[in-house]
Every structure is written in C-alpha cells, then in structure tokens.
Subunit: 464 residues, 2 copies
C-alpha cells in the first residue's frame, strides 16, 4: 500500500496545484523535524512528479555552536541524497537590531532573501517551506489575539506566489511519528522550547491547555476555521474587485470613489473598497484602522464639502458625487478644523493622534509631568469638548484663584510668533482653553483632591 | 456631563435600534454584577427613552441557600425601584438530567421559557439580557475551539428577535468599576469561580493568560474579530439568499438545485446554498459536516446518476441538470452501494458512520473486544479497501493457518436469513472480507506480534 503520509501530502500538492513535472524546487531545511520531514517526503513525491530539489540552509547564528552543528547535519543529509546544497550565515540578532525589527521578523526576511539568491543561481521556480497544521493554527490564534481582519485570521496559505507549503495538511505530532517510524534523524531546536517568543507561549502553554481542557480537537478546529475564513476572504476580494474597477479611478493626484456606482453594494464591500483605495494610494495600510474606514464610510451619507483627517496627512472628502482620497494640500492643512470629542476615543487632528481615556482617580495618585500626556478633572468639563485652533474670545485660567487670561495675551507673553499660532492644537470647553498642546493647561481642570474621574489625553503616544 | 457608561450604552442602544419609546422591556436579573448593572443603566436610559421595565429572576436551585438569598436580593431591588417583579424556581440539574442536556444548556432554555411567560402576562415586546464584551469574546473562542462555521465565530448578537443585549459594548471590568463607583451592591455567583464548566476554564485560565502574556488588548481584539466575521457572515447570507431563490425549488418530496442557475456562482455561495437546502429539508443541520457539503459540491462536476449517501438516510444525486436532495426511498436503500476507502477518514455507508483511523501498534498493547470497533493489521491490506455489500466470490480466512471459507457458507452456517444478507455492510480487500460488520473479522488481518501500523475502524462511534 502506498504510504499514508506521502499519499496525503501528494494529494494536498495536487489539490493545491503546488508542483508540476520538471519544477525546480528550493527546499528550506533548518534540520528540525518539520523541514527534515519535508525534504524526505518531497524525495518520495519526486517518484510520482519528476522535480529537482535544491537544499538551502540558513544559519541564524543565534544558537552558537548548535547552529554550526545544524548546518553540518543538513549538508550531510543533502550530500547523502546527492542534492545541491547551499548554506547562508547571518547574524540575525545584529541585523534585527540594525533594522529595528524583531528577531523572528528579521529571520523571516533573511530567509526569503537567501531563497531568492539560490532561485536566481539555478533558475528555480518554486520554494518549499515546512509549515504544518500547528503553525497554521498558531498563526491564526496569534493574529486573533493581537488584532486582525479576515486576512490575518486566514492563517498561512498553502501557496503564495512561488512559495509552497506541502506540510500544511499535517500535524506536528504526525511528522514526529513518521520520522520515528522511518528512523530519520533530525536536530532539536532548543529555541522552540524556550518561552522567548510570544508565539512560543501560544505553542507551549495556550494550545496544549486548550487541547487538554477545552477540546481535544481544538487544533483541527482552528485549522478548519482558518480555511473557512480564507475561502470567505477570497470571495470578498473577488466581489470587491468587481465593484472596485467600476467605481474607483485616479484623478489628478487623488483617488476618487464614484458614489453612484458605490452606493448600492453592501457595507462590507464598501469598506473593502475604501481599504483597497487607501492601500493602493499610500502603498499599504500603515496606521489605518477599522475606525478610519468606518469614518470614511459615513461620508457617503454626508453633505458635500465635509472631510475627514487621516494619519500620514491623508484626507478623505465628500464631493458632490464622489469621495476623494488624497494627501492634504498645504492649503487644506491650514484650513480650519474642528472635532467634537467623546471620550474615550482616538482622534486625528492636524496630523497628531489624540487618545482620550477615562480613569478612576485614586487619592494621592501621583500625576506625572509630561508635555504630551495630560490629566484633567473630567467632571469639570462641560458638554462641548472640542479640538480646534484659536478663535476670538478664547481664554485660560492661569492661577488657582480662577484668574483668567486671554489666549491672545498668553501667546504674546510667551512670544509665540503670529504665523505659528494657528498651528497650535487646542483642547477646548467652549471658549475655555483646557490645553494649548505643547504649551500649558488651564488651572481650572487640574486634578485636585476632589477629583473622581480623570480624563487622560495623550498626543502621538505621549512621546516627548 | 452625562455619565460616560450610560452614554456609551445609550449610543449602542440607538446604533443597534434596541429600544423605542413605550417599549415594555423584561430585564433578566440574576443578582450578579452584570444584570444588576444592566437594570441600573436601563433605569438611567429610561430618562431619555421612555420605557417600562419588568424584573424577572430565575432561581436555578443549583446554589442552595445562596439561590434563595439571590432571589430575595433581586426582589428587594425591584421593590426599591417600584418595578414589577416575577420569580421563577426550577431545579435545573434535575431538568437537565431528565432532558439529557448540560446544565448550562438547560438553564438557558428554562430562562427563555420564563421570559416568555412574563412577556405574555404583561404584553412585553423586548427582553434585555446582560451579556457583556467578555461573554462575547469567550463565546467566540469557545466556538473556535470546539469547531464552528462563520456563524458561531460571530459570537453573541446585540439583537436577536426580541432579545436585546445593551451591555455587549462594555467589558466586565468596566461594569465592576461602575458598580463600585455608584455603591451599587450585587451578589457574587460562586459558580463563576469554580472550574466546573469548560467555559469557565476559558474565562478563568485561558483569557487571563493570553491578556497577560500575549496581548493586553486580546479581549477587545477577539471582540472586534467576531464583529468583522458577523458582518461578513451577514453579507454571505444575503448573497446566498439572492441565488437560492433562483436555483432551489421543491419537487415532489425532494429539494432540487438547478445547475444552470447555480454553476456560475462562487464555491462559497454554492456551499452555503447546499447547506441551506439540507437545513430546510431536515429542519436543521444534524450530523451534517463540511465534508458532506464538499462531497455534494463535487456532484456538480460529476456524471448524471451518481449519488452520495448522507447521515439520517439523506441522499444527494446528480440529475441531468440538477442536484436532488431527499430521503432515500426504500428502493434506493437496497440499491448496490460501494465506497473506496482511504484511511484516515469518515464515510457514510448504508446509514452507518464508519470512522477509519491509523495508529502506531505498541508491542503488548491490549486490543479490546468490541463488536463495533475493530483493529486490523494495516500493512496486510492491499490497495483496494472498500465498503460494499456481498458479491459472488467473497471469502474469509477463518483460522490462523489461513484456511478460507466462502462468505455464503459462513452466512448459512450462522443461520443469517437470505433477506438480511444484503443489508450487512462488508469491509473488503477485493473479494477477501476483512470484516462482516456485526459478525466477524477475517483471521488474516488480525493484529499480531509483527504488526506495525493499526487500522482502527469504528461504526457509529463504537457504541454497542
């Protein structure tokens, strides 16, 4: 009987159109159980689908002498099977620090760079990597916990561009059993047993606990859920693309969504179109959250002329029959802006990110001094909390007796140039300036012994 | 300033169209933090939206004297606010046993029955219950772990029929803080602190660990994911309904999916249509898995006449231009069936569920005697493992020396009536009968000292 594991992987390869005869396939082999299994199974697959294999090992330099032994182990295995072997050595930790990335993230980038080098050298057309069903479930859960849309909840894809993952249909336990059955040696990566990485906490603590105490089949169920979500995401993408091509166009420097073609589709598709628009305009979704997308969607039902400020000096405005997305022009940047605040919440104003949160004030709590994070007595603030720039009639309370000063006089006393005054964000309670951001707060709203609820306001994460 | 929590709930109520002026609202109050908070916030909401509140308490009888105290506590609170109060007492544990349900499930059913009684008594039109954001995240995770489609991953809905959940926008921590701030007393339900229920393990162990070690905002992220999935599920439902009404019809006793109208839609929608078809035909999706749906989908590309056997004597067949779903006719039940088996996997054959799994044989492992679970030496089985009924030429090995006997002779010896012989499922390796289900297995495939891999076959969960 054809061997069960090989059969299962072969079926998965065919179903997902991973390999064709005469493919030249790079196999990433760390020496660990997963990748050793992958290489050995691909050698079996080769008997059915004629392919050429190239073994690539990336020495990460984070395991010292063990790293060296891993590399030698893989080289020996490649030699034994008479396969081309390429080894790359990088100091991932140093590279990560240099690029301001996590070691895991940096490792991933370096790995694919090395693959790319070998791909060019031998004119390969596929790269096989050893992710398994557990990796998929872990990725799905990890993304769920740290916040993600449907795409992230889809887990790891079997095929992405020229990268294939034939072992995604197999559980880690099956891999280990199969290797033991066939007396195939592999190297044990100690880093997997350490709780260095957040993902390892998921792998070593959360999932085993869930499998033992909540549902034995949890791994298979998470894997299945990620597949269903992937299918759905793919469908949504298709439907979005159909509408996108009809209603989105580039006009001058901006993206334009034409409302007549847009208005009749479902909100889910509308949001996807807006997301795609921003993505293509600023080459990615940097700093864009679901809340921004929701805000832009509200423009559809709003009057002409209204606009919303987004991160990275982006702006969305409602035209007569369209929504216009683009970078703010200099003129627009100087235009009067005003936002009504409801705490808690995050608001974008004049390119700054304001975060409003509410806290219980605990007696004798020390209020730190910080120029970009301020604490106010929430109960003293009226119903009209706004962010705006200066207006006639603005004033501050400047001493504990309630003495007021006109904002204009304050600016003059502080020798703030006239041109600059319009670019200072103000947090106001009607004409009472709670906070002239970067300058001072009004005495009236300071925390006192009677304070019960605190409004905390942080600008750009509070970094000075 | 209007109070923050009340404001937030009010906004959520308006956004989700939960309450209208003059609504008569039943409030389920257990006496715990969540429901006490709900009642008190609804009393505040009443100042903005004029509604009438009716307090209902269900005494579950699982906490003994504490249950009695809970009821008295809630009655006193209702009296204090001059609200109608109704109390129901049930012995949930006994009812659960009687109905073969879990206590949590039974509790839920009883709760909604009590609400229904009060609804009729006072002609109420809404029922408010106290689920919060944590409950939603817990439900989503719980469903993810135990296996679920998009609907289950959507978590708890803010509005379902006449049931509203105004606190779904609030975290448990906020509820507790708010109650403390307002000096509102509540009862502590000890059962929540015990690890009696699987869900409590999620609540008390998994989520706190994840929040502490993986992502502080995990709760909000899971909540957000469930909302995105809900939106998507809703969209899929709409799209499915549009196509469903065009391609599905009832014909005689069967459901018919017309292929010309069905063929062009996306697979995701096709699967949803098939699912809906089965759901409406057998009033629910009892025993139907994703695998069955996938199988029916393959019929679309198959020849006329081919059919698939489903649980509960359901069947799907390919007609010339249609897929026909219906209960098997008696004639169909007697028709020759045959399934090629690939282990591991589950197959439905003649109304039985066969589960095939592979195990490593450990020396000296004891093989239990069980009429509906059998273990075979996997490596002795050829390439043609099938489930079918009797054929000419069938035989068994009946002793350890390899002596064979014709299946027909075996049936005669065992005094199995002629009419019955065609209804016995046979597991075969060509003409060699591995197992005549319910009768005997062939000596050839028995586990021996040389066995390496075991094929385990279980019929209907192995229950005798």
């Amino acid at each position: 009987m054809v061997e069960y594991m090989v059969n299962k992987v072969l079926k998965y390869i065919v179903e997902n159109r991973m390999l064709l005869p005469n493919d030249k396939v790079i196999v990433g082999v760390s020496g660990g159980a997963d990748s050793v299994c992958l290489l050995n199974i691909l050698l079996e697959v080769k008997k059915t689908i004629p392919i050429t294999l190239y073994v690539v090992h990336i020495e990460h330099g984070i395991r010292g002498i063990e790293s060296e032994k891993d590399a030698e182990f893989v080289e020996k295995m490649a030699l034994q099977y008479k396969l081309v072997f390429r080894r790359f050595s990088y100091d991932v930790a140093t590279e990560a620090k240099k690029n301001g990335l996590g070691t895991e993230e940096m490792g991933r980038i370096i790995r694919y760079q090395a693959f790319e080098n070998v791909r060019k050298e031998f004119d390969c057309n596929k790269i096989a990597v050893a992710h398994n069903k557990n990796d998929n479930a872990e990725t799905m859960l990890f993304n769920l916990f740290r916040g993600s849309g449907l795409k992230g909840l889809s887990g790891i894809l079997p095929v992405r561009f020229n990268i294939i993952r034939p072992l995604l249909c197999i559980e880690r336990k099956e891999i280990e059993t199969w290797l033991a059955e066939h007396n195939i040696a592999y190297r044990t990566d100690q880093t997997n047993f350490e709780e260095d990485y957040t993902r390892n906490r998921l792998r070593l603590n959360v999932l085993p606990y869930v499998q033992k105490n909540i549902n034995k089949q949890a791994l298979a169920h998470i894997d299945q859920a990620s597949r269903i979500i992937y299918e759905t995401w793919e469908y949504l993408e298709e439907e979005t693309d159909k509408v996108y091509s009809k209603c989105v166009l580039r006009k001058d420097e901006n993206m334009v969504i034409r409302i007549p073609e847009f208005i009749h589709v479902s909100d889910v598709i509308k949001k996807n179109i807006i997301r795609k628009c921003l993505e293509s305009y600023q080459k990615g979704l940097k700093d864009i959250t679901n809340k921004h997308i929701d805000c832009i969607l509200t423009l559809v039902n709003n009057h002409t002329g209204k606009s919303i400020h987004l991160p990275n000096t982006l702006q969305a405005s409602r035209g007569y029959n369209e929504i216009i997305i683009g970078f703010k022009s200099k003129a627009l940047l100087l235009e009067k802006e005003e936002i009504l605040i409801q705490a808690p919440g995050s608001y974008l104003f004049m390119g700054y990110k304001f975060e409003f949160s509410l806290e219980q004030y605990e007696k004798n709590q020390i209020i730190p001094e910080n120029i970009y994070t301020k604490w106010f007595d929430y109960d003293k603030i009226g119903n009209d909390l706004r962010l705006r720039t200066k207006e006639a009639g603005d004033y501050l309370v400047v001493n504990s007796c309630g003495g007021t000063k006109k904002l204009k006089s304050y600016f003059i006393d502080e020798k703030i140039e006239k041109e600059k005054r319009d670019s200072i964000p103000l947090l106001c309670d009607n004409n009472h300036i709670i906070w002239a951001v970067g300058y001072r707060i009004s005495e009236k709203y300071k925390i006192s012994l009677d304070t019960k609820k605190v409004l905390k306001v942080q600008v750009n994460g509070g970094k000075e």
